[in-house]
Amino acid sequence: MDLDIRKENKKDFSILYVGGEIDAYTAPQLKEELLPMTENEGDKILVDLKGVDYIDSTGLGIFIGALKSAKSHNSTIELTGLNSRVKRLFSITGLDEVINIDNEKREEAK
């Protein structure tokens, strides 16, 4: 099943809305959208994962790649809207310590 991906440009930053299950099959779709966004020098990117109910290591790997790309292009990336399951995977893997996750806006788990 495909991911539901939508991009929105705000005045100071861009938002990428992602929905669906991010796994080995769908992760390339996320990569294709997210990676070019990080390559714009100095851009601020917010990734809204509210609609994501499943993610595994392939999906987490995309965010590591995006983080590295952002770092080398002086852009920033922040995640928001993680449900408790998705959040848990970021913390088990230690990814929450290297990537910005907006806890205040975190959606409550179903």
Partner: protein, 163 residues
Amino acid sequence: MGNEALDYIEMKVPAKAEYVGVVRLAVSGIANRVGYSYDDIEDLKIAVAEACTNVVNHAYQEGGMIGIGCNVYKDKIEIVVSDKGQSFNLSDVKRKLGPIDGTKPVEELKEGGLGLFLIDSLMDHVEINGEAGVAIVMTKFLKRDEVEHHVDEISASTNAQKQ
């Protein structure tokens, strides 16, 4: 008593990324039937998907199959994911197993390699067998306090069979 598998379910799917979701859904259905909690089912889904993804990414040069076997016991589920592809050096893999090191600079982070670490974190017991292809055996126990009703039912029927 109760050491024999109550049921065995087997599947074979092509080692392609688009089938990982199919396996995930099937395993979620089996775990749901056994009586696992929502969180445990999610853990099982991730673990089995990681094992299948490893097969998709590493086992074959030119296509092959993923074998999935589920042994359902009274108090646990045991999932075997196997392939007939390339083996890998087990001790190498184990040495690299671990979460992301937050003290390392971002440039040095690796995009892969979290799969086996996740399997290890989410399952209760994991064994990897690395000759003539790879087989990974993952076990997750059914937590009694959450599903006491189911456990009683199953053990009652096991006893009945024995008599």
